[in-house]
């Protein structure tokens, strides 16, 4: 606490500050006005320097250096762009080649799936029904060979789809086709050229004649749209290897 | 008073004749002016201090101008022209400030 009568002890800085806040004087007013001017000027300057991006403070050499720096950066950017363009061209080439190869492989796969009986198929063709009589292995084999000669692309006997390795065996009540027992009637669904297919059945001493000779009734129906829903399962192979 | 007259004559002559400064000397002109300012304020302070000498004034004027210009010229040749000129201006500025402060003390007793 300051002594009002005796010699004053020197005030600490903090005490001085506190005292000045408590007792405003003329000196403080002057300082206040000047500080107001400083504050105003400072804020104005900040606004001015942030608003314009002028190069007023730059010497000519600085400007030249800046320009050179920017030009070099642009050149580097252009080089990068050129390289990226080259990359893109190469990648476009590669993807188009791969796409073509992929389409080709898929097309081939689709065809093979049809020919190996792995998918249901539809198309123009013929439906043959063989009812009654005694259908022998021999006559069935013959029929199949004739149909193939006539360009059959898919054949199904009842619910069994024929493949390259299909075989016919004799069974007690009828036939075994690829190991499946069947007895008449036999429905052969064939896809191919209907004219050629029916011609392959009906020529003199051909399959129809043979079957009828054994007592069967043979009905041949050509159609624009024959559906074969039966599919062959991909057999397991043990010895065959791709070349 | 006559001294001030001399200054006025010089300024008028400069404005009237408007001489073309040779291109090589152009960059050094501002530096020379600041160096000259330093010498002039130094002289004015010496006058107010009571220790003015015209010979010293002349010598300090000419040598300040030449030395400042020479320093910046060498700097330009070395490639640090901008930086050296900044340094010279800083030093000259400090000296001018000091001398003007002393002059103010003499004039305003403040």
């Amino acid at each position: 606490m300051p002594d009002s009568e005796g010699p004053r002890a020197p005030l600490s800085g903090r005490a001085r500050l506190v005292q000045s806040l408590r007792r405003p004087s003329r000196g403080q007013a002057v300082v206040g006005v000047l500080l107001a001017a400083v504050g105003f000027a400072a804020v104005t300057q900040v606004h001015a320097s942030s608003a314009t991006s002028s190069y007023a403070g730059y010497r000519e050499q600085d400007l030249i250096d800046l320009l050179n720096g920017l030009t070099t950066a642009s050149q580097r950017s252009r080089d990068d762009l050129a390289k990226l363009e080259a990359d893109r061209a190469a990648l476009q080439d590669s993807t188009s080649k791969r796409q073509a190869a992929l389409s080709q492989a898929r097309q081939l796969t689709r065809n093979l799936q049809i020919l190996t009986g792995q998918v249901p198929v539809t198309g123009p063709g013929m439906v043959v029904t063989v009812v009654g009589g005694n259908v022998t292995v021999d006559s069935m084999l013959d029929t199949i060979e004739e149909l193939r000669t006539a360009g059959a692309e898919a054949i199904a006997i009842n619910n069994t789809r024929l493949t390259a390795s299909s075989f016919i065996q004799a069974a007690a009540t009828g036939l075994l086709v690829d190991g499946t027992v069947m007895s008449g009637p036999y429905t052969l669904r064939v896809i191919g050229d209907p004219t050629l297919l029916s011609a392959a059945m009906v020529f003199a001493e051909g399959p129809k004649a043979q079957l009828e000779a054994n007592g069967a009734a043979v009905n041949i129906q050509t159609s624009d749209k024959v559906q074969i829903m039966a599919v062959a399962s991909a057999g397991s192979t043990q010895f065959i290897q791709p070349q | 008073m006559i001294a001030i007259l001399g200054l006025v004559v010089g300024v008028v002559a400069g404005l009237f004749f408007a001489p073309d400064v040779p291109v090589g000397l152009e960059p050094y002109l501002p530096i020379a002016v600041v160096a000259a300012l330093d010498a002039v304020f130094g002289g004015l302070r010496a006058l107010l201090d009571g220790i003015f000498d015209d010979k010293v004034f002349v010598v300090s004027f000419i040598s300040n101008v030449l030395i400042a210009a020479a320093i910046v010229f060498t700097g330009d040749k070395l490639g640090v022209g901008g930086q050296l000129s900044t340094g010279v201006i800083v030093v000259l500025g400090i000296r001018i400030f000091s001398n003007v402060a002393a002059i103010r003390r003499h004039l305003f007793h403040a």
Partner: protein, 286 residues
Amino acid sequence: MTQRELPPHVTVPLLDRLTASALDADYQTVADRRLAAGEQSSRLGLAQLMVVLALFGLLVSTAFAQTRRDATVSANGRATLISQIAEQKAALTRLAAQEAVLRRSVSALRGQDSVLNKQGAAAQSLLQRLQTPSGFSAVHGPGLRALVTDGPPAADKSNLVRDSDLAFLVNGLWASGAEAIAINGQRLTSLSAIRNSGWAIHVNGRGLAAPYTVEVIGDPNQLQAKLLETTTGQLWFAIVRQVGFEFTMTSVKNLTLPAAPLRTPQSAEAIAAAGGKAQDSQGGTK
């Protein structure tokens, strides 16, 4: 030990020294000298003073005038530089944007390429699994080589091997576990027919002549055994005996069978399954 007093130019900081020596020491020295000589401390030689001040005035006004003149020229130069700088900055921004776009597209393409690569590999592997047993690609493996020759000559040519005879043999071989068959180098597929055209047997549309080499890939022992056991096989042997063909079978460690020419299906089309995709092959080689 007495401490040597350090001279002022060592102890005093730089700025303080600059401020302290703002006035040339010469003034003081000359003034002291004059006082010592008994003269006035200050001397104003008006003539010299005037000249120097005139020079100073000239210097200052020339500098002002020059700067004003240069201002236009340098302003133009600066203006060009500044406009060039602005151009380059704009160019850089443009280039950076282009680069970003290109980078994205290259990265997308890379992704696409990699996906296509994987798809391609998968498609190839699927294709190979399909092709091998189909007859439309070359294969090799252990098996049998059977030779069928016409029987002893007969007037009515009934000794000649006929299409149906070979069909019986082939049927028997499939039933016995054959995995691939070729007759005289003609690979059998689901499209292959064995047909007589006149006296010649045609397979895959190509005419063949006796003797007929039937190459079979499969288990050599099983093939022979089953052919002999099964009724289908026995059908074949009955014919052999009846007509008098020469028939031999030899085991072969490694047979190579060629591919049959592929015919693209002209009439048959796959039916898309309910999900909208054609069924993929199921199962595979064990």
